[in-house]
Amino acid sequence: MRITTTVNGQQRVVDDVWEGESLLYVLRERMGLPGSKNACEQGECGSCTVYLDGVTACACLVAGGQAEGREVVTVEALADADGLHPVQEAFLECGAVQCGFCTPGLLVQTHDLLARTGRPSDPEIREALAGNLCRCTGYEKILDAVRLASERMASR
């Protein structure tokens, strides 16, 4: 089937998509956007988090056909010509990245949290990121990064 979507602001048309393919597969394997990661394939780990029509979603659980006509924003769009997004900078500075596999999903979910909640409390951060699993960091550095990004973004 043919899928027409808007991805990171550009209309993309992809042919011969199998209905059982996930949006994640379409992004990674057909559109050259491998930032979103393929880990659990069950919606449990959050590594594939993208924006779908303005809210975050696990791209692994969106069937190809469901993506038709939708608007997708991936981790690739967080940085712009001026450089990394403050959330990305904070993750780097705080050492919130070890193997890096969960990082793209955490970046998108944190981006969404800080867009909706300027200065989230620690419980709000934990709840917002509950669906993003990290096997390396123990989360402390990730929480540091979210707090740092939130401080910087709120003071701008």
């Binding site: 919606g43 809210v55 975050t56 659980l61 069937a63 469901q66 509950a130």
Partner: protein, 329 residues
């Protein structure tokens, strides 16, 4: 994943027709508990009917405070709707206690009701499961049953219903509006959900082609005094090991009316009618709450590793009702 045909109907009637004409079809809405099960091979539909484009995504509040929730309303949108938070806080709390932010953003109201059990044997196609493969057997009684049912189960199946939202809806006397091949009808939740008996593969009274179009919640004047409390193995993003939805009306010092539903203890949201009947007319005290819930749980059939759910559930009921009424524990 098994290959399937994919249909994107233009309206409810077409969706119903498509669903009815193909045995083994599935309606696809948010996808958060169909796509995953298709990947596991637990769900193997020949036809997937995508109802995501049908609208059915409005929340209508009537003048009495009742709600009509479109089937495709997203869990996250419903949870923060001002009328839901005001009139029935237990609904909002139940929704927010389920899944993760990403999943709540996609999961729909009707899909939440029709999600499948998380029993480990059901989800593992290498194991027997009477629900997935009728007649294949059930290893749970001798095996991993810590999270499984203590009420309403059968020799064939003790799987629990995983929804939080459905527990709060059961306490609120909600109904589902269904459009099927024979027309429209409404079903109370206790008519929608079936206990397993000898046929755990039949979970609901919905027939092929029956599409839930809305959830109808009647006005509940004391719904403002309601709460949902969920006990789980970690603070967020886990299924309940016990949960309670309750609403209570105390007038002139006695319980005039009360609604209690229990989650994670049965194959369906368990409305605690026996406990409710025991409480009406009594003073709202912790000891009255405990006696009422113990009456409800007296018919339970626990197994060695899930017997803890009985005192846990009783404690949560006492705690929720005490908090709602200000009774000292």
């Amino acid at each position: 994943m098994k290959p399937f045909r994919y249909a994107r109907p233009g309206g409810v009637a077409e969706a119903v027709r498509s669903g009815a004409e193909q045995p083994g079809s599935r309606f696809l809405a948010g996808g958060t508990n169909l796509v995953d099960l298709m990947k596991l091979g637990v769900e193997r539909p020949d036809l997937v009917v995508d109802v995501g484009g049908l609208g059915l995504d409005e929340i209508v509040v009537d003048s009495g405070g009742g709600l009509r929730i479109g089937a495709n309303v997203r869990n996250s949108d419903l949870a923060v709707h001002p009328a839901v938070r005001r009139e029935l806080p237990m609904l909002s709390q139940a929704l927010l206690s389920g899944a993760s932010g990403q999943l709540r953003n996609q999961a729909t109201a009707a899909g939440n009701l029709l999600q499948r059990t998380r029993c480990v044997y059901f989800q593992d196609v290498s194991k027997p499961c009477n629900k997935r493969e009728p007649g294949s057997g059930c290893p749970a009684r001798q095996g991993d049953h810590r999270n499984l049912a203590v009420l309403g189960g059968s020799a064939a199946c003790i799987a629990t219903h995983p929804s939080d939202f459905a527990v709060a809806l059961a306490a609120a006397d909600a109904e589902v509006a269904v459009t099927g091949p024979a027309g429209e009808r409404t079903l109370r939740l206790d008519e929608l959900y079936l206990l397993p008996g000898e046929h755990p593969e039949r979970e609901t009274s919905l027939a092929p082609g029956d599409l839930i179009t809305a959830i109808v919640v009647p006005p509940l004047p004391f719904g403002t005094t309601s709460a949902y409390r969920k006990v789980r193995d970690r603070a967020s993003y886990a299924f309940a090991v016990a949960s309670v939805a309750a609403a209570i009306d105390v007038t002139d010092g006695v319980v005039r009316d009360v609604r209690i539903a229990l989650g994670a203890v049965a194959p369906k949201p368990w409305r605690a009618h026996r406990a409710e009947d025991a409480l009406r007319g009594l003073e709202p005290t912790a000891s009255a709450f405990r006696a009422a819930v113990e009456a409800e749980l007296s018919v339970a059939e626990p197994l060695p590793d899930n017997a803890f759910k009985l005192p846990l559930t009783a404690n949560v009921v006492v705690s929720v009702l005490s908090d709602l009424t200000g009774a000292s524990r």
